[in-house]
């Protein structure tokens, strides 16, 4: 196994608000290897976007406290000064955002927005940058890129805008692409196109991708590995097979149990995880999932570390005190993986 491209270790991000200090990210560690697609899954507010923004230095601000490190081939993005960070952004790590409708500046031509980025990083002529921008638009499958260059964002459809965002992100050939829910705002057919585009770029260019999503379907489609996040922490990490076929954390069971699958009989009611995510201002002591977990026991008020708990699979780590035999027995609900039975 090669050295990781990006090594995030014990990342903690908190924001001072009027209600108190929000611990949005609470000790997240993971690594991203060259050429892989790593999915970060979790529900809204679990800290997955903040984790990504922090890697880009975009969560910095007067009210934010950031600890831990994010090493990008030897340099720490967390402590890096602004000047150096400007060089890293887009050039080494680029980001695609959730809503392509609002992520491009409405008053500038799409092509010019790409040229602006190229010329902020490289000392090249306008004409050369324009040619590069057109090439970038072409590479993400935008038809007629020469003409499209001069269009404004509102003249693009949602899918085309997301392609343009990806073209923008890739125009400087970064090593890492962070895609923050890139398909959430799009139609299902367009979602599939965008995902296969990301997959193709990953395959052809060896681009490492962090794909943030709350959609396990998306994860199953394109990811190599996945992190499951809950209330600011990673609760489980593993390959796709690990997560989908041998999930160790009850929260992951709950997520999988609340999926409807086309190859299985339709449940009478969609099984859901009872309760709501905890406040990140005063999270529960110990395991954050404890208040919602039907399997909680005496050990749970002590925080379980994220570690490999299966002797034969060191890459599969989770944060649950239960032993793996008990887990395998308890996660089967109504003949499939789940947390609770579907309500009648």
């Amino acid at each position: 196994m090669s050295a990781p491209l990006l090594d995030v270790s014990d990342l903690r991000v908190s924001f001072a608000t009027e209600e108190g200090v929000v611990k949005a990210v609470d000790g997240v560690s993971f690594d991203l290897r060259a050429g892989e697609i790593l999915a970060i899954v979790g529900e809204s507010g679990c800290g997955k976007s903040v984790t990504a923004l922090t890697v880009m230095g975009l969560s910095r601000g007067p009210n934010a406290t950031i600890e831990g490190s994010a090493m990008l081939s030897g340099v720490d993005l967390v402590t890096m000064d602004d000047e150096a960070l400007h060089k890293v952004r887009a050039e080494r790590v680029a980001m695609v955002f959730q809503d392509p409708m609002t992520a491009l500046n409405p008053v500038y031509k799409v092509g010019d927005q790409i040229v602006e980025q190229i010329r902020a990083h490289e000392d090249i002529s306008k004409e050369a940058a324009r040619a590069r921008a057109i090439e970038a638009l072409r590479s993400v499958g935008i038809p007629n890129p020469g003409r499209r260059y001069d269009h404004y964002p509102h003249e693009f459809s949602g899918g085309m805008r997301q392609r343009a965002m990806i073209a923008l992100a890739l125009s400087l050939e970064p090593e890492v692409l962070i895609a923050d829910e890139p398909t959430t705002a799009l139609d299902v057919t367009i979602q599939a196109q965008i995902l296969s585009l990301i997959e193709r770029l990953n395959r052809d260019r060896g681009l490492a991708v962090i794909l943030i999503t709350h959609d396990l379907g998306v994860v199953a489609e394109v990811a190599d590995r996945a992190l499951v996040m809950y209330a600011g922490r990673v609760v489980e990490e593993g390959t796709l097979d690990d997560i989908f076929y041998d999930p160790q954390h009850p929260y992951t069971w709950g997520l999988l149990g609340s999926l409807t699958r086309i190859d299985q009989p339709r449940p009478r009611r969609l099984p859901l995880i009872p309760g709501a995510p905890p406040s990140l201002i005063s999270p529960p002591q110990g395991c954050h999932f404890r208040p919602r977990c039907p399997h909680a026991f005496t050990k749970c008020p002590t925080t379980p570390p994220l570690e490999a708990r299966l002797p034969d699979n060191p890459g599969h780590r989770d944060r649950c005190w239960l032993d793996s035999e008990t887990k395998r027995a308890r996660r089967v609900v109504e003949d499939r993986i789940g947390l609770v039975a579907s309500a009648e």
Binding site: M56, L58, D82, L85, H86, K87, V88, R89, A90, E91, A94, M95, F97, D99, T102, A103, L104, N105, P106, V107, E116, Q117, A120, H121, Y152, H154, M165, L168
Partner: protein
């Protein structure tokens, strides 16, 4: 764009006609509006008044009277009932003072409004923002007549820093023109600076939270470029709109208080005097004049708006 301009021009004619009818009807109905007394004088006898009524056509049906008035308005023959002065000549006489006042002030208020607005937004929540916010609130709350009177008292009467009111034409004496206008410019600008500062501050803070500003940062642009090209460019669009309308209204006679306090003999002051003496011809003339500038500037604003925001299309 030419078609849009042409259409707005046609619209403008209709707006002006509507305004003239409303003005005429209000005046016709207003108690004490009877122009005969004004023309004949209070000491006149009934025979003179009847004669005047006949001569001036006040016995004619309303629509005939309106038609006559509009004919004179268009041909520039509108004459005041009370002092027999030609309205168009009065407007032309007042225009240089009003234009000097408004254009000078507009430059000042736009410059300082944008400067303070940007500082306030960039330092939001910190002390420069707090100081600017307090100053802006004071500026918005200061009554023009009070501020004007105070400045006149302290800076011309107590300390003779500036001349005490009046207007000196630019062509005759540029230095005098300038020194006579400094206080009026400042007085008229204060309120607008306050408003523009507050508006730009909130616009900029809104825009800073937009996704495309985050994208601009993610592109690795410097903070200066993010603010200058992405935040300012979008936050200034509503300011441009407001600026156009404010300038139009001020040229149209909206600077009444400033002109009166400093005795600039501009159009605003003429408007105030005409309304005070319930004199229909100048009221009609100045109302249409003001309406013309306001409609004109709102058309200019629309065209500018379409230039600044590519999402806006002038409907063809």
């Amino acid at each position: 764009m030419a078609r849009f301009a042409a259409r707005r021009l046609v619209n403008m004619v209709f707006v002006l006609i509507a305004i003239s009818i409303i003005t005429f009807l209000i005046f016709y109905k207003i108690p004490g509006g009877d122009p005969v007394l004004r023309i004949a004088g209070r000491a006149s006898n009934e025979t003179t008044r009847a004669q005047i009524r006949e001569d001036y056509g006040f016995n004619d049906p309303v629509y005939v009277q309106y038609g006559e008035l509009m004919k004179k308005t268009v041909s520039g023959d509108l004459i005041s009932y009370s002092n027999r002065v030609n309205v168009r000549e009065e407007l032309v006489r007042g225009l240089p003072a009003t234009l000097s006042l408004v254009i000078g002030s507009a430059v000042i208020w736009l410059f300082f409004g944008v400067l303070f607005g940007v500082l306030s937004a960039v330092y939001a929540g910190r002390w420069p923002d707090r100081v600017i916010t307090i100053l802006a609130m004071i500026g918005i709350s200061l009554p023009v007549f009070w501020l004007g009177a105070l400045l006149l008292y302290y800076l011309t009467f107590k300390v003779s820093l500036f001349p005490a009111g009046g207007y000196v034409p630019l062509t005759e004496d540029p230095a005098g023109w300038f020194s006579h206008l400094i206080l009026p410019w400042f007085t008229l600008s204060i309120l607008f600076i306050g408003f523009y500062t507050r508006l730009l501050r909130s616009n900029m803070l809104d825009v800073m939270n937009e996704d495309y500003v985050r994208t601009a940062r993610a592109k690795g642009l410097s903070e200066r470029r993010v603010l200058g090209r992405h935040v300012m460019r979008n936050a200034l669009i509503p300011i441009v709109t407001l600026f156009g309308l404010d300038v139009g209204a001020a040229i149209g006679g909206g600077a009444i208080l400033t002109e009166s306090v400093y005795d600039l003999q501009g159009i605003g002051q003429y408007v105030a005097d005409s309304v005070g003496s319930l004199d229909l011809p100048p009221i009609m003339g100045t109302t249409l004049y003001a309406a013309f500038f306001i409609v004109l500037f709102s058309a200019i604003v629309d065209i500018l708006y379409a230039r600044l925001d590519p999402r806006v299309r002038l409907n063809q």
